[in-house]
Amino acid sequence: MVKFIIRFRWIIISLSIVAGVSMGLLIPSSETDPEIRNVVPPDMKSRSETSKIESEFGVQDMVMLLFSDSVILTTENLQQIKEIDREISKLTGVTSRISPFTVRTIKSSEDMMTADPLIRRIPSDSAGIQKLKADILSNKFARDIVISSDMTTASITATIGDSERETVTLHRIDSILASSTGNVKVMKGGLPYIRQHIMKDVRHDGLLLVPLALLVMLLVLKITLGQWRSVIIPFSVVVLSTCISMGLIPLLGWKLSILSLLAPIILIAVANNYGIYLVSRYQEIKLQGNYSSGEGLLKEILGSLNMPILFSGLTTIAGILGLLTHSIIPAKQGGILAATGVSAALFMSLTYIPALIYLRTKSGNGVNPAKVRTEGFQKILNKLSGLIINHSGKVILVSALITLFISAGIAFIRIETNQENFFPKNSPVRIASDVINTKFGGSQTISVMISGDIKDPDVMKGIDRITDEIGNTGGVGQVFSISQAVREMSKAIYTPEEPEYDNIPASRESIAQMFELYNMSGNPEDFSQMMNLENTRAHILIRLSDPSKSVIGDVKTKIETLTAGFPGEVTVGGYAIIMADMADSLIKGQVLSLLFALITVLLLLTIIFRSFRGGLIGSIPLAASVFILFGFMGLTGIAIDSATALLSSVMVGVGVDFTIQYMWCFNIQIRKGLSYAESTRIAMATIGRSIIINAGSVMAGFLPLIFSGFMSIRFFGYLVIISIGSCLLGALILIPAILMKFKPRFIEKDLSISKTRKNEKDTSLINVGTAAFSRLSPAAGRRSDND
């Protein structure tokens, strides 16, 4: 291996740089995909059903423009809104719209049924305004749909078609709004604007978080390694592996999403670890001067570090690959990106870094590692090991109780798929969404498409029953269907004394002739969103004022109940249903990925410690951390969403290293004939300190996530710090206490790979930790070497 690296050092270095740079050059061509429905697989039922509905009635993602003032019904305000409405009506990208100027009033007068515009002429005096106010309040197609009941807000709802790119249409709407003058305050909401903000924020996050994380890591490396020349070696691995990983996005035809942002951050936080170990060990050996040549130096470094780095890398990759069990697409893609990046970092750490170190040895560069006072640190670790040695039973008990206490929060855990909640409460998108949800019935929708003879009274009555029942469900803002229009028409045709008044007619012909009458007064396209012109498909549109998973679940269940045995084919779709399915996928994916990661790590630990019991004990900190993580999320109200669902796999992948390092180091001490107490004290003083700094550097790498524009990414940042902290405490408190208390036999076995390399292996993992930070703790490094 060493000979190979030395012989092909230039090829290794060149290939690593070329691979990283060429993949990095692809990154700018990455496109952003803000479409949340692309998160779920195309064959998922809710998505395919939604496509069916959209092929008939168009995409139901609505832009909602809100106009608010203390009193919205003034001549000037209405004139301003009318001008905006007229300009929007001219946009080819807008397929339909609902505004105060498109809504009609169906009424009966002097033997006539009329379907007049709500506002034919904008009133210019107070009497006219008062009449308009009364008209709005009595019109079920206007009240809280185009004008809020409190008369403070008006809305224009525009459906965006696919004849033009959504971004172009939104840009044109923005231009119309910008050129409009008046007193009304304008807010923009709805899924197309949410997507626009996501695109903007993904770019912003990418430009802010990745450089920030790199800067943080640069500082960590500088503090750890001292010399800039040493810093640049692991740092270049971080940059190159990140480039390789992110370059895969355009190469594989994927698109950047909110979750894609996590992959480079994971890499920046994790990919430097192996390099730190190698460069620190190099600094340590060089400082001691006990090597004969460059080749000898490399043999010394790799002989002691190859296997532990490989184990650490493999467990991290295994944990991250748990994400492949998710059915949500970005989770799988994120898993592949991060695993590829870690693999690249691992491979480069074992080839490219030694090649660079060899070159540096040849050039005769000196070493000037950082010097940091460490006495205080050692005192704390000594006290901690004393506590564990003397009270191991109590430490286990308290740890178990704390874990159990926090785990109780799992009962309160929520699943969040509402895209609106990606944004902070003070963001314009969130403010507009709140107004839409509280005053206009909500912007997120469920669509029910009925296929059959819509003029059949049984079908129409069924539609009416669904409309009424769903309309009375908590969290549902508005329901629109053709049956409402039929009932309004019946009110205009019959008198309240007649049984047909406000009812669905009893015959197919009656319904057909009602539509004929309406067409004489209204516009056939007035119903285009509720029924196709062939009258073979009807569309029930449900708007949710509370688009939470529980409300969506209630509505879905009610629809299933109401449409059992329905005289027509029923298709249920819409954005909210896709989100509900996504929530189910998140839960399933969360469980599967966790199981995959834990089982894989258990197997790896079993192999490493050559004992199933060893594997189980090694898994305890991870399992406890999983419970603590979900319990903490439940207690603090942080929901599982598409970002936080990835957390546990990352935690398992990264957190397992600490346990391996501690147990390996402990094993070395035990095999040297030390007592359990002495082994604990020494392991804590040597590897313990390194683990803490290692965990600190990983946490520091994730820290910039708290500056993300997306709430779920921020929460990911907070939670990863908590979960890595939990793994750290598990490895340094719980594991030592368990080993101390139960004295398992596997920990006394010889864990080295082969007898011939025994001497190398004896010091291998302890050096992973101590070597990395030996300059921060010279005493610890020397003690481990001397043991």
């Binding site: 006539m112 049924m113 045709i493 197919r508 009602m514 004929e516 007064s521 516009n523």
Partner: protein, 221 residues
Amino acid sequence: MVSTMQATISLLIVEKNGATRNRTIAMTSKSFADGLEKRIIKFLEPADVRGTAMLVVDNKNTADEIWIYLPALKKTRRIASSENAKSFMSSEFSNADMGSPALSDFKSQHTTGSGTNNTWIIESIPVSDDKADEYGYSRKISYVSMDTYQVKKMEFFNLDNDHFKTIEITKFHPMPEGKFMVSDMIASNTISGRRSEIHFNNIADRVKVEDSFFTVQSLAR
């Protein structure tokens, strides 16, 4: 003016996506003194609207009167005269297109290019905003043959002055006294992409029809 006339009218509605719907109606019209004309329209197809009947009283100088009888509902309802702009049988033709608009409702003048290419180009603008609302357009450009005095094409502009509809008259049927009636026309909506075609078949003139046939009471018969 011809005293009486009967015809069967087929209406073809073509959606933007190419889907088509057919409707068939029977029309009987009679001219009365002072330019008054009355029409009875009976729906033959589709089956679910068969028996639906309309009476249109086309006054020369006052607003039209329209009644519709719906047999399944057993109701007769008046259609507001202000709804001339509304769709005729869900087609691109409006109620006004099926009648003769009152000349006094418009100010008409020759426009640019009129008198060339054997065509008069006449611009008609509603006399008031109310009339514009009633007819559903702010402007109409008619292309009239200078030889035959027949209107070949009409272009309609909505209240935002955007061109939204064109009616092309593709066939005229010769009537007594050297007159002609429109027998085939096509309305194309430039915004919705829909198209409607109307064809007059089995045209018969000077048929004997009693005046009492053109009453609201007769609609239900």
